[in-house]
Subunit: 136 residues, 3 copies
Amino acid sequence: MVQQTEFSLPPFKRGFHLITDIVKDNLPDLPQTGVMHLFIKHTSAGICINENSAAEVLSDFNTFFNKLVPEGSELYEHSEEGKDDMPAHIKSVLTGTSLQIPISGKRINLGTWQGIYLCEFRNNGGSRKLVVSIVS
Amino acid sequence: MVQQTEFSLPPFKRGFHLITDIVKDNLPDLPQTGVMHLFIKHTSAGICINENSAAEVLSDFNTFFNKLVPEGSELYEHSEEGKDDMPAHIKSVLTGTSLQIPISGKRINLGTWQGIYLCEFRNNGGSRKLVVSIVS
Amino acid sequence: MVQQTEFSLPPFKRGFHLITDIVKDNLPDLPQTGVMHLFIKHTSAGICINENSAAEVLSDFNTFFNKLVPEGSELYEHSEEGKDDMPAHIKSVLTGTSLQIPISGKRINLGTWQGIYLCEFRNNGGSRKLVVSIVS
């Protein structure tokens, strides 16, 4: 059986943001055992899982990705949508657009230190749409 | 319930290629609500989701990945299968080998700008095999 | 229907390690058709799929990722947990924390050359916990 819901995040500024609680607030009652799928319907933002406690981890991610995928009009042919656009597409592929997390005992079964990140790669990405599918 | 089908892509040249329509042509009738899984059975090609309209995005992806993971016999121990081989393995891990896309209202629920890419990292990768699993 | 099991890997040293057989040993009887989900409950290790035969591929992956995400106290704000910690978080996002593999004919349907890797990014990561979910 698959239950599904779609919801929007508030706009976040460019960077990595912990959204575990927002995702949980948008979940239906979870089954005893299952799999939660999370999907982001965008090509210049990503979702991933990483450390849920230290704020510097989030800013270090932002610093690293900005360095790994630099901006610069001479680097990309696709530049008409802004110099942060093509780098955002590339970063989105590197982080990914979907997550799957086991559901155990009616809860999403993340490790102690794991949280869900929104990776906002545009300067003004606006609200982002997510789809949750619960398989049981 | 899980429906499954395996199919082959025609050979594509090295680079990123939009294959959304080919994938759709190989889908069975979709359920009202579900999840589509796509899996590529190879280690030197990947699949990912990104922009479905501008051709320069695809070529910029190719340029970026070629720069990020350079070829060169001095860089890798594993070189007997050609100088594009080990870089192709690395790129395949960076892009990923599986996708999951929600199914909503009997259609795959991609965002407006999202398309499915084959990432062909070999110079002569030949035909690639994909497995689609539909969970409902 | 979703069957689920959680198990621990023995400690592995820093690097990429083939764990296909360990995963198989921890699977329940598989259904005729389905999807296997594998999830790692950690933020400084990852799982991915790649070449299952040449040992140099595994060491080349290690070399590449160490170069792509360098260590250095000046590069990251988050350094209190060791200089291998923040790079491990970043590498974990690049490789990913979950896999999905089709199940066909009661077997996981990997390509001929595909194997499952544990990507251990800490110097002393210890035992790592995985969750397997079988959807059928």
